[in-house]
Structure formats: C-alpha cells, structure tokens
C-alpha cells in the first residue's frame, strides 16, 4: 500500500464517502494500488421513477424495451398495468410507483383512453421466480458499478414484508435506491 493511500485512508475516508475516483487516480499514479481494490463491483441498472433514481441488479434484467401497446386486465390489482406481447410472449407489466408511494393512482396507459406513452418511458423485463415480468420506468439512466462498500443495505429486521427497498447505493453525489425485484412485484 502506498503511503499516499494510507494517508488518504487515515484522514479522508468516511464510510459514507466514495473514494473510488481518487483511488483510480492514485492507481494511475503508481502501480501498487491493487490490494485495496479487490472488492468486486456489482453492476446495477439505474432508472428514474418520477424524480428519484432507482437501481436493480443488472443480472435480474432480461431486456429493456419501448412501451408497446398494453392491454388492460379487467379487475386486476391496481399495480398491474396490463399485458404486453413481446415477440409472441405474453408478459404482465407492473407499476411499482404505487408500492413506493410515488403515486396515488396508477397511470392510464392501457385501454382506449391511454395516450401515447412518454418518449423516454421504457419497460424493464425482469427475471423473477414467477417468470418474467415487465416494470414501467420513466426513463433508463444507465449502468452503474457499485462496490459493496458503497452500498448501505437496509437492516433485514427493519424491512417490512412489503418493503421493496433493499438498500441505498452512493456513487459520488448520486444516490441510488436499490429495489428488490421480487418484493416489488410480489402480489
């Protein structure tokens, strides 16, 4: 470990701060920076719901597609927006904003009264235990790599049954709310 790093660690490190940028810089300046970087970063897909930034593990995402025509299912739970036909496969599409209390009522996006979907809106097709399911997002932000030290997991005991926030991730000034796909789509 270089003296530079040790000094940084001793004086500047805060658990809630990300120093990866600096370390990367340090790694460029001398070739001995590796030992501290053994933490494997995990890739997350970040997206926006209303004004907040959310992320799900990228391994849970099967694909991202534009919002197709949705067919509403009569008498279904409110967070089920409808079904879509993806290359012959029938997929349910959910709205997680209700569960996250970002909205009071589901948007009208299916049926004859639905307008055109916003240009940036996408459907994330997530892999879940009960089969693939689509989730409406307002826009896709991109892929972020978060090291475990940048992630603050919600204490398991404090999470309610229906709590679908698995934790918080920080990268620089950006805060990512990590979603648990299984919980978010649980009936």
């Amino acid at each position: 470990m270089s003296r530079f790093e040790a000094l940084l660690d001793a004086f500047f490190y805060r658990p809630d701060e990300d120093v990866s940028g600096l370390l990367d810089f340090a790694a460029g300046s001398d070739g001995l920076a590796q030992p501290l970087l053994e933490e494997e970063p995990v890739e997350y897909l970040a997206f926006r719901l209303e004004s907040e930034c959310y992320a799900v593990p990228i391994l849970a995402v099967r694909e991202i597609c534009k919002v197709p025509l949705l067919t509403e299912i009569p008498r279904a739970e409110p967070q089920l927006l409808g079904v879509m036909n993806l290359r012959g496969e029938l997929l349910p599409v959910y709205d997680v904003k209700l569960r996250l209390r970002l909205a009071d009522a589901p948007p009208v996006v299916a049926g004859p009264d639905a307008g055109l979907p916003p240009r940036a809106a996408r459907i994330l097709v997530l892999k879940t235990e009960d089969g693939p399911a689509g989730v409406w997002v307002d826009s896709v932000a991109g892929v972020v790599r978060l090291k475990p030290s940048m992630v603050e997991l919600s204490p398991a005991g404090l999470r309610g049954d229906r709590d679908c926030v698995a934790g918080l991730g920080r990268k620089g000034s950006q805060l990512y709310i990590l979603l648990d796909p299984e919980q978010a789509l649980a009936p």
Partner: protein, 731 residues
Amino acid sequence: MTPGGKALAEFVAEATEILDALGRDLLALDEARGQEADPEHINGIFRAAHSLKGLSGLFGQERISQLAHAAEDLLDRLRLGRLTLDDKVLDTLVDALDTFQALLGEASRSEEGQELTQRTRAMEDRMARLGSPPPAVEEDPLERLELDGTVRAVFTEYEEHRLRENVRRGVSLWRVRAAFDLTDFDQGLADLNARLKPLGEVISTLPSSRPGGANGIAFDLIFGAKVDARALEAGLKGTPAELAPLSVRPPLEATDTEVLPPLGADEEEEGDDEGLVETTSLATVSSPPLGSPPRMRAVTPPATVVGLQAAASAPIPAGRPKSEETSMRSLTQTVRVDIGRLDGLINMVGELLLIKANLQRLAETSGQDGTVALSKLFGQELSRETRQLERKLEALQEGLLEARMVPVGQVFDKLARLVRKIAREAGKEIDFVSSGGEVELDKLIVEELSDPLMHLIRNAIDHGAEGPESRLSAGKPRRAVVRLRAEQKGNHVVISVSDDGSGIDEVRVREVALARGLVTPPQVSEMTRRELLNLIFLPGFSTRSSVSALSGRGVGLDVVKNNLGNLSGIIDVWSERGKGTAFHLTLPVTLAIVRALVVGVSGRTYAVPLNSVLEILSVQPRDIRTVERREVLDLRGQTLPFLRLSRLFHLPEREVNRHFVVVVGLAQQRLGIAVDELFGQQDIVTKPLGGRLSGVKGISGATDLGNRRTVLVLDVAELLEEGIAQERRRA
C-alpha cells in the same frame, strides 16, 4: 380404408412394437449363446408372447394368437427350467419371430395365405415337440438352502426355479427386510428394487412375517447378490433395508466345479433365527455342470434387428430355411411425436393465420378504388390467391388438430385397473362399466383428465357405493355399478361418472356448509336442491366426518372443479337419494385453436370462444326486465340471466340504444352477455395468462388478432359461474 381399417392399423402398430421388444430380447439371448441365459430376457420374451396372444385374440387374428400361444407355452417351460435354452430352442424362437413377421404382414393386407397358415401349424408343432428335459438333478439344490418350508410354500413355480438356479450356481443369497409406511410403500419398494437391480437378482418379494410398525408394512425380499456383502451394504445405504444372509449347505459331494464359493461367505453370520430352519433332507450330489454348448451359428445381430421391423413383402435372407420375404420397410406408418412439437406447429399456424388476415385486408382495400393504385386485375388475383391460402391453411390446421386427438379410452383403461384396487381397499363390490372410450379429445386435455376422473371415481366407490350388506337390505343388487361414459356433443365432449349408490344427502350438505361457514342461513333458505348440491364444490367441503385414506381429505371436488376450469370445462352434479349420483364433465374438444367471436365493450376488444356461443341477440334496453333486482331477458319464454360485461369488468359504461347479447352456454347453464359491438369471427391461438396472472378471473388467455394488439379471451365457464353466483348473492 376397409371398415375396421383403423382398428387394424392400430393392431399392426402395436403388434409391431411387441415384436420389436421380443426381437430385442431374443437378440440379446442370441448374442449370449452358450452362456447362462439372463432370466430377464427370457421373461421379456415370455411377456411379449403373452401380450401378443392377448392382442391378436382381441383383434380376431386367430393364426397369430395360436402361434403366440404355442410360443408362450414353450417360453413358460424355459422360464421354469423345464427346458434348457439350447441352440435348437433358440433357432426355433428366431424362426417363430420370422413367422410372426410374415403373419403380421399378411394381416396388415387383410390376407390369409394358405401356405403361411401351414407354416404356422408346422411351427406350432415344432415348438410343442421341443423339450429336451433338463439335465437330471439328483439333489434339489433348494434343499440345501436353509429356508423355512412355509416360506418356500408361497413361492410361485417360477420363483422357486430362480431360487434353485441361484443356489445351484452358488450365488450368495440374502434376505432383505424392509419396512415402509403404508401411505407410500409402493414408492419405497420400487426405489429399493431399483437399488437392488444392479447388484443382483430379486428372486421374490414376500410380505414379512414381522409387522412393520403401527401403520407400516414390511417386506422380505429374497435376493441373489452379484456383489459381496460390503458392496451390497453400501448400495443399500439410506434405504430402510436390513440384510440377513440365507445360508446354503455345501453340496454333499464337492464334484460340482461350477459352484463358486458364496461371495462374501466369510462375512456370513448366523441368520435371523425366525423363518430359517435347517432342512433335514439327505439328498445327494448337486446337479452336474451345465455343459456350455458350442456357439454354433452366429445369427448376424443387425440383420435380426432389421428383420424384426420388416414387412413380409421383402427379399429373402440367405440361409434361412423356408426363407421369408423381409424388407427394411416397416409395417406400421405410425410416428410418435412429442406433443410439444405439435404445440410449436400449432403456434406456427397461428402466426400464419395472422399473416393471412393481413393479406386479406390488403386484398380488400386494393379492391376499393382510390386507396391503393393497383390494377383491378391485380386486385382480383390477390383476393383469389388469398382465398386459396385460406383453404390450405384451414386444411393444415385441421390436420394438426387431428394429430393431437387421442381416444379418451387411454385414460379409461388406466382407471379401470385402479377401480379394482380401490374397491378392494374400501371393501366394496363394484362392477365398473366404461363406454365411449373411442371418443377423441386433445392429448393435453386427456392427460389433464386422469386426476379429476380418478378423484370422482374414488368418491363414487368410497362415498357413493354402499357396502354389499346395506345394498341388499335396500333391495338393490349386491354389487354396485360405477359407470364411466364419454359422449361427443357437438364441439364438446361430455364425460360422466355415475354410481347407483346412496346418492348425496342434500340436508347433510346444507348442515355441513352451514357448520363450516361456507354459506349463511338466509342464503341457504332460498337455494334450490340443485344449488344445494353444488355446494359440494366449495373449497373445504367434505361430508364424511372420518377421513379415509382414499378420499375425503377436504380437498376434493373443489380441486376437481378448478382442474376442469383450467381446461375450459365445467362440472355438473345430479343426485337422487337412494338412486345414485352422476357427475357430468363438459369439455371442449381442443384448446389449441378455437374459432372466436370478436366483440367490443367500452372500446375494448375481447374474444369469445365460438364453441360456447349459442346465439346472438339484438336487444333494446327496454327489453331488459328485472326479476328480484337481477336483470334478465325473456328468450322465447325462457328466462335468461343477463350480464353486462362492462359492469362486471368495471369499465366505463356507454349509453347505447341497443345491446348485442351473446348467449353462451355450457352443459345446462345459459347466460346472456351484453356487449357493445360485434367485429366478426376469427381463428385464434390462445396463450394462457399463466404464471403471475393465473389468479385473474373471467379471462382464459390472450391472443393476437393481427393488428399487433393483444386481445383477451373470455373464460366462458368462469363467467357463467360468476353470472350465476351473482344471482345467488342478490337473491
């Protein structure tokens, strides 16, 4: 095809399969010429001959049946060791196989050649005359085995023979004792057998003299091990089996070079004292060694295999006496296809239908002037070709659907076997009558039917049919009759399970439903008898206070009803006290492709399977009456429940000056479903909602109508139910 041609084709297909199996075992024996024959193979051939005899008897194929009978006799003698398998016998069997092939060939052409008949006779004689007695045995090797005489007495002749063989060859014998729970002993026993099989030969399975615990059952397996004790123990690790060696006295004169010292003999301990009593026979000398006959003539194995599937009209293989015409062409034209592949093809046809619909639209628009700049001739050409395509597609679709059809008899046969077992366990005397097994249904539906039918039959035997004594005192014949019948009714198949037992006690049904809180007293007071009977389909309903092992665990008819619902079917019950009970299952013939009526409600589009649509009415709002606040229509003097789809689905209702009413019906039930628009008919391939959406009510799946928009398919059976339940609620 000649009348009965289908039956004949079926016979030929099955007989070919049997001969294939027979040939495989024969080939294995042939390859092991001169060595000790594997009893499994001889048994296999014996079973094949036996099935062939039964099958050909059933189809009136006298010659095959008689030859099979002769072969079965011969094989039985072989199996029991009354005849040794020498080259002569083996050759005879190979010739017999050829004769079978030739006979089957003639049968498939509905011929009966004189020459072949004579050859068959000769073959039968030859088999009957065969019979060099087995080498004389002076001491019965069995006498050397220390096994209780009472145990020996229950062996079948075959088991005794196998045991004798094993003793003679000096195989180490074990008694494997295992206790299982009564509920799943068949599974446990099968597992144990599978474990034992690679380690040696299971000679006999006997119920153990020792009880297997409170609700268990114990078995003694007499086992001839090919491996030593340690390997045997290792192989049985994890099973409830206990091992005890069966000791064998050495032959009195040690002349027999073939007798190997029992494997693992050094580890032999004193066997369990019970059941093992020293025999006191003073017989002498064991059997002389079996001289291994020289390998005379290698029948080229591949040729034999080919010959098995060969038709009778075929070239002549050299060297075969009275040579046969054999060829590589197989007799049967049957191909076995995985149902998944057919599903794939059906899906493909679905896509083709969409393309066709698009083409049709193009053709139509090109016919109208102005929209597209095309010559009139071209437009006509296009429509003509589209119509051609439509016809071909219809034929393709029909053919595919036909390929999926199997007779329901497949399930009926399985159930018939089960009935005997259930009746025995329940202590009832039952006559099982099934009819209509030839009615055809989609393979998938037939598969899904076996569980519900089994449940209903169990109920009929367990709850419906009375015991012999109470039947006699009620003035009925001693034996109860359980009937299973299938019948085609238009686009549907009705399967009924009925008994002539005591019937359902609706008073008791009412009490139980009230006691379990399934219904409230005011609800019950207005129910008709029929509605009361239908309470038995509610989850958690079971009238028997004691739970029997067979049925009556409280999950029962509701599961049956759900299973049927998944097949778009409906179940109905009829019962009369003292006379019996009947369940009627109404099922669609196929689920793969259905013709649907496309309707519009509040701007949404839905598809209604046409097979349940009876008629379509146009109704003015003033024609809708209310009876006790439920909306009904008067349809030719009959009251028809009226259901507004928009209201049921919580869609914004539109003001209309006339309703289209789609009258749907399944079994006895009718319902008028009000919609806003009718768009016409279309063939649809329904995709089930499945997975996360399986809880959605009133929708059976979704389909694509060609405009890239997913359209939901209404589940008529569920809507009927809801329509009727709604009435009940309001009443």
